[in-house]
Amino acid sequence: MVRLSLHTPKTESTVKAATHSNPFSVSFKNSISPDFQMLKKDIFERQHVESNVKNTSLLNKISVISAKMNNKFKGISFNGVRNNMETMSNKAKTSFSGLVSKISSLFRKENKVEELKTQPVAALKEMLTNAVSSRAAQSM
């Protein structure tokens, strides 16, 4: 099992969002950015996020983004960044929101794929046929 962790042992105050129960168990209660709200919704609606995400490619992507967050906001806690968004430079704000947004989007994609995997293959075959035809029609 790959465990997501934004925590690096070097700096206690580094962006961190991983605990034993949930890899993103940071409190988003007072989120001020729509991105955070979205992330909260996506993550907390997935009750079994850690046990259900078997897609290692998704986990790897999130790890890469997490590492970027660590590098960009070294020495500042996740809550610190969130609570001080208003005082942050626009560049830093955009960067942080962008990274959060990317993680959020990965979760949304994962949700869609998980939903599709519950469909019978025959239904997916029809969907794929239609999607391919639609692409062909658009390119004409």
Binding site: S57, K112, V113, Q119, V121, L124, K125, R135
Partner: protein, 118 residues
Amino acid sequence: MYKVEDIIQALGEHEDSTAVTVLEEIGTNSSDEYVRKLTAEALAKRNSHESLRIILINSGKGIHDLNNTVSDAVVSTLKSLEDKEEALRILEDTISLHSDEMVKRRAKEVKAILLSLN
């Protein structure tokens, strides 16, 4: 409507093995190179005997696709597999048993690439 990317990924990860047949039938035979690329990558990621056979031994498919974007993407996905044993086994069989020299040559190249990573 779902995106073609999500449908192909779902089929690639589907627990029903007949999903592989659908990917072969619709995806690998598509005239759309993007669909062929996504399909071949999904089959490589599935990393089962049936899915790998499609992209490793069939002329014009997977690593043998005439479009470099498609064939390179498959090789890249194969390189990223943690367990490459099945892929290497099929490539070895292809090299020794396939009747098409072009297919044999490409299989040899890809096998060398995968072995160079070990």
